[in-house]
């Protein structure tokens, strides 16, 4: 890694950090408008229905180990989980969270309990945040059992999956319940695109927080993503033209 690249990387991170902080403070009051993502509209309905008929939400956080780059999608899923736990606190049952990595299981339990404490409820139950398996397919298999056996009305699969996610979406379809799925893994996305009712494509899973209003920081980060996006596009185009001209 050349020094220049490292500097550029640091600059990029620093820039986006500054922008996020700034925006999140500026945007305290007014939430920016974001494009409509049907999946999240459906999610809102699903949450409402779950609260309404006392059924459960099931959020699966995938199997990305926390100390790998794949953790980000799971972290996004955890933010969503926390939020869903708050939203469904009016309902009879807290959401259940399944995961394929032990650290994620612990975090999902923490998130659920934090939300419960927030509402003075007492949910210290291993059943709500479970590890369903430590290898990709055993995780998926365990999640299938959860999808089928619990009284789940809506499944949200958000995290790092592989092809095994197809088993889960298929189980959901057999159960005839709602599924919203997204992953940072391209292959999993392709499978989800074909097999899930409401696929989240690529980056969209990271927008979940903002779309369920987890706070100004979340919407700020979306705006920052947009800004960076155009910066990168500009860089790519300029760079490509320069390469064409033979400068680079």
């Amino acid at each position: 890694m050349s020094i220049g690249l490292e500097l550029a990387g640091f600059g990029l991170v620093f820039l986006s950090a500054a922008m996020m902080l700034g925006l999140s403070f500026l945007r305290r009051k007014s939430r920016p408008v974001f494009r409509d993502i049907p999946a999240f509209t459906r999610l809102r309905q699903a949450v409402g229905l779950a609260v309404e008929d006392g059924s459960r939400l099931h959020l699966s956080l995938g199997r990305g180990a926390l100390i790998t780059p794949q953790s980000a999608s799971a972290l996004a899923g955890l933010a969503l989980l926390r939020r869903l736990a708050e939203l469904t606190s009016a309902g009879d049952q807290p959401p259940i969270a399944t995961s394929g990595d032990a650290t994620l299981t612990i975090l999902s339990q923490d998130a659920l309990q934090a939300a419960a404490k927030y509402f003075d409820q007492n949910v210290s139950d291993p059943m709500t945040g479970r590890l369903t398996g430590l290898t990709p397919f055993s995780y998926a298999a365990g999640a299938i059992a959860a999808i089928r056996d619990e009284k789940v009305s809506a499944n949200i699969l958000m995290g790092n999956f592989g092809v095994e996610v197809a088993l889960m979406t298929d189980a959901v379809e057999r159960e005839n319940s709602f599924v919203l799925a997204g992953s940072d893994n391209l292959t999993a996305q392709a499978v989800i695109y074909a097999s899930a009712q409401e696929p989240l494509i690529g980056e969209e899973i990271f927008a979940a927080g903002a779309y369920v209003n987890s706070g100004s920081m979340h919407s700020a980060s979306l705006t920052v993503q947009d800004i960076l996006r155009w910066l990168i596009i500009a860089a790519i185009l300029v760079g490509a033209l320069l390469t064409l001209a033979g400068v680079l």
């Binding site: 008929d53 606190s89 049952q93 059943m127 990709p136 005839n176 903002a210």
Partner: protein
């Protein structure tokens, strides 16, 4: 006091009568304990037990419901009537002199509908029908609580005029409601029972506060006891749970429900004491003696408090849905709700309000008050500005007023009360309703306002109209969705957006936010356990709403999912197995060998064939066992080729199952007969470095210093002294690095983390077909020197590399099945896609047809 109240008309009859002399309804339920409600409780006898028996008789589990059409059991209602808290019965009184209200035999004649009470403000009198009719509507709700009560009452007295009918619902509903106080008070009383020593009369208000906190603890303990079943969603008959708690509150088994009995025991009697001071009534003496008689006694002292119908009817109405929810929530919610009912009735802003359960907190206040009654009286006489009452206190403050009044009946307070309570209560109704069913009402309003008069009321008082400061905390707390929605301003387009998307779900828009995102969550006030209660509220509103607009059926929307089609699955499975199995069984080659020569494969081949013999080669097994089928098939020609060069192998993996897969590949004939034929010995020809934890970090660590990152072999020996790794210290010492992976991510990790460290040694990859698009660019960019992709790539490699033994490799064996199976799959997809496209198109047409 000796008289018996008629459960139906509420008039008093001589005890010897079996049937009411006025309405003819049965007076004495088949249980002996009935009179205990109206009779003063003697020391020693234990009305609680009787009551529980009553409750058990009238358990309101769905099963036990009197369903429309069935003959109701008189016993149940009669029995419940006896459990009906006296203070609730006093609701039926108009504004009567405070002194007489607590004596039940004074009640009868005024027991006509509240709505007809002359002094109730016009608003309350015309939203009276609303909530009652609301109840009536709830009768068709799926989970029938009220309905059946109404049913049973209706059928007991067929010729009930609508007006009376309304008044009749009240006892019924209050009976149901009285369950939840029953629980809380029983626990509370249990400590009295368990505490032998008599209460100390000079207990200070602080004592009460302690009592308040302490009782919080036992509420906690209740919550935590029942938290688990609740979270698991184990279906438990709620009432049973409730009763169990309730019974466990009795002296016999009281221990487990009492975190710290002694403190409580001295505090709570003190509270009673204050009550006694305030209300110089004889009835309270027995009340203190056996505080066990929680259920009958609480109503009694409440009856001291609640004096005018307007006063107590308000909590009655507001918490009505809560009670209904209590009837079906589990023990945890039950106890929570119990507390919250009370707390909800008394929003005490500020810390103390958070610390003390609502039903305790007024008492310290009163206690302070009673220390100098005069000032207290003045406080009430100089009518405080409505706003103060509004924001400070909900309906319950009237308890205080009631206490004052009951102490000094001649006091002018009643007028004052009605003055600022009238609007207050009306506002609260408005609030309660608008907050339970906020948006969908205003949304529905255009279509449905005409159908329901209640809209008229709920509409003006939408949360937007009410400043947060104006809302009593319990009202705010009654709106989980609201508190979620709170800050989202409903701009027109958001509004339109939601309505446009949720066709049949229009009714749910109170539950669902009407803006992108679910609104920023405002931190609710202290007693958010009330949120549990609001679940009941939502069912209640949902019931009402379903009746309002029968076409809005969320369930229908939920069920509008694709039904998965078993037949299709079976057909696909059958055909695929056939297509795959037949060629394998028959073994007649039907498919010509692959003629493709992908450049990346060719370069991989040339690299392998130019490897010096006895060169150290690192082979990374980074694939799931699930894809071992594909990876082994794809890799076997390359591995066969490699092993012909007689290299020293180092095997490693970043997945825990990798090492086992590596062993399998080297030894199991099903992977590669040729390789297995070599019968490689660990430590001699190869070293299995095992599992490299930490993902990219681990890979980077290994790339930087292999000897540190993977010191030991799979069987625990120090690896780098073994012959296969002689002279290998850094990654670039390996003559080649071959990565077998099914996952583009792990492939990229090896390229990015280790690519820079391999130096001039080539990095090759054998990947699953699914990873090709992500990995191939790295071949183009020269970061990997060769690539074999999936079965097809393996086959191509197999065609280039001719095995010494003419045995067909895996790819050759699979090739026919592969081509036939894939062909069948393609045909299936095409046919099925066309079929489902037509079906979907039809369905769409139908839908649009319905809409038009």
């Amino acid at each position: 006091m000796a008289d018996v109240l008629c459960p139906i008309c509420g008039k008093s009859n001589p005890t010897e009568l079996e049937d009411c002399q006025f309405c003819g309804a049965r007076l004495t339920p088949l249980s002996p304990s009935t009179p205990s409600a109206s009779q003063p409780i003697k020391a020693g006898d234990n009305p609680v037990v009787k009551k529980t028996s009553e409750f058990e008789k009238v358990k309101i589990t769905p099963g036990d419901f009197v369903h429309p059409g069935e003959a109701p059991t008189e016993k149940s209602t009669g029995a419940l009537e006896s459990t009906l808290p006296a203070w609730l019965r006093t609701l039926r009184k108009g504004d009567d002199s405070a002194g007489a209200e607590s004596t039940p035999d004074a009640i009868p004649d005024q027991s006509l509908p509240l709505s007809s009470a002359p002094d109730t403000s016009s608003e309350s009198s015309d939203d009276q029908p609303d909530w009652l009719t609301g109840l009536g509507k709830a009768a068709s709700d799926d989970e029938k609580e009220i309905p059946d009560w109404l049913e049973s009452l209706r059928e007991e007295k067929p010729g009930t005029s609508p007006q009376e009918f309304m008044s009749l619902q009240e006892p019924a509903l209050n009976q149901t409601g009285s369950l939840s106080p029953g629980v809380g008070d029983a626990e509370w009383a249990a400590r009295l029972g368990s505490e032998p020593k008599p209460e100390t009369p000079e207990t200070k208000p602080q004592g009460d506060q302690q009592g308040g906190e302490a009782s919080l603890n036992w509420l906690d303990s209740l919550e935590s006891d029942s938290g688990v079943p609740n979270a698991e969603g184990q279906p438990v008959a709620p009432q049973d749970e409730a009763l169990n708690d309730w019974l466990s509150g009795l002296p016999g088994s009281s221990e487990e429900n009492q975190p710290e009995p002694p403190r409580e025991a001295e505090n709570l009697p003190g509270m009673l004491n204050l009550l006694q001071e305030k209300t110089l009534e004889p009835e309270l003496a027995p009340l203190e003696d056996d505080g066990k008689a929680a259920d009958s006694e609480i109503p009694d002292w409440l009856s001291k408090l609640g004096s005018t119908p307007v006063t107590t009817e308000v909590p009655g109405k507001e918490s009505l849905p809560d009670w209904l929810s209590d009837m079906e929530t589990k023990a945890g919610p039950e106890s929570v709700a119990t507390e919250s009912n009370f707390s909800s009735d008394l929003p005490t802003p500020g810390a103390t309000g958070e610390e003390i359960p609502g039903w305790l907190s007024p008492l310290p206040a009163d206690a302070k008050a009673t220390e100098n009654p005069v000032s207290e009286k003045e406080k009430f006489d100089e009518a405080p500005p409505p706003s103060a009452v509004r924001e400070g206190t909900g309906p319950m403050p009237m308890w205080l007023a009631g206490i004052e009044r009951s102490k000094t009946p001649k006091d002018g307070t009643p007028a004052l009360i009605t003055n600022d309570e009238g609007p207050g209560s009306e506002r609260n109704h408005g609030a309660a309703f608008s907050l339970e069913m906020p948006d969908w009402l205003s949304k529905l309003n255009p279509e449905h306002a005409s159908e329901k008069p209640s809209m008229g009321i709920t509409e003006p008082s939408t949360p937007e109209n009410l400043g947060i400061s104006e809302l009593p905390s319990w009202v705010q707390a009654m709106r989980p969705v609201e508190s979620v929605l709170s800050d989202t301003k409903i701009t027109p387009q958001e509004d339109a957006q939601v309505t446009e998307q949720t066709g049949p779900l229009a009714g749910l828009q109170g539950v669902l936010p009407s803006s992108p995102g679910l609104g920023t969550l405002r931190k609710p006030p202290a007693y958010n356990s009330i949120l549990k209660v609001t679940d009941g509220q939502q069912r209640y509103t949902a019931a009402l709403e379903r009746l309002i607009s029968s076409e809005t059926q969320p369930q229908a929307a939920k069920r509008s999912r694709l039904a998965s089609n078993r037949l299709w699955r079976w057909l696909i499975a059958f055909l695929l197995f056939l297509a795959v199995g037949l060629p394998l069984i028959m073994g007649i080659p039907v498919t010509p060998a692959s003629t493709l020569q992908p450049p990346e494969m060719v370069s991989a081949f040339t690299i392998i064939s130019t490897l010096p013999s006895n060169a150290p080669v690192l082979v990374v097994f980074d694939y799931d066992p699930a894809l071992s089928g594909e990876l082994e098939a794809a890799a076997s020609p390359l591995m066969d080729h490699l092993l012909l060069q007689g290299p020293r192998l180092a095997l490693i993996s970043t997945s825990p199952t990798g090492p086992a897969l590596a062993e399998r590949f080297l030894h199991d004939t099903s992977a590669s007969p040729l390789v297995a034929g070599y019968n490689y010995q660990p430590g001699q020809q190869y070293v299995n470095l095992g599992y490299l934890a930490g993902g990219p970090a681990g890979v980077q660590y290994f790339a930087n210093s292999p000897t540190k990152a993977a010191q030991y072999t799979l069987d625990g020996q120090p690896a780098w002294t073994l012959p296969p790794l002689q002279g290998v210290r850094v990654l670039s010492d390996f003559a080649a690095v071959i990565v077998l992976t099914d996952n583009a991510d792990s492939g990229r990790i090896w390229i990015e983390q280790a690519g820079s460290m391999v130096g001039n040694s080539p990095m090759l990859m054998v990947i699953s077909a699914q990873a090709e698009p992500m990995i191939l660019p790295y071949y183009d960019s020269g970061q990997i020197k060769g690539l074999v992709t999936g079965l097809a790539g393996g086959e191509a490699y197999g065609q280039t590399f001719i095995r010494p033994d003419s045995r067909p490799g895996l790819t050759e064996r699979y090739w026919d099945s592969f081509s036939v199976g894939t062909l069948v799959m393609e045909i299936l997809i095409v046919a099925g896609a066309i079929w489902s496209a037509i079906a979907g198109w039809r369905a769409r047409l139908d839908k649009s047809g319905e809409k038009v």
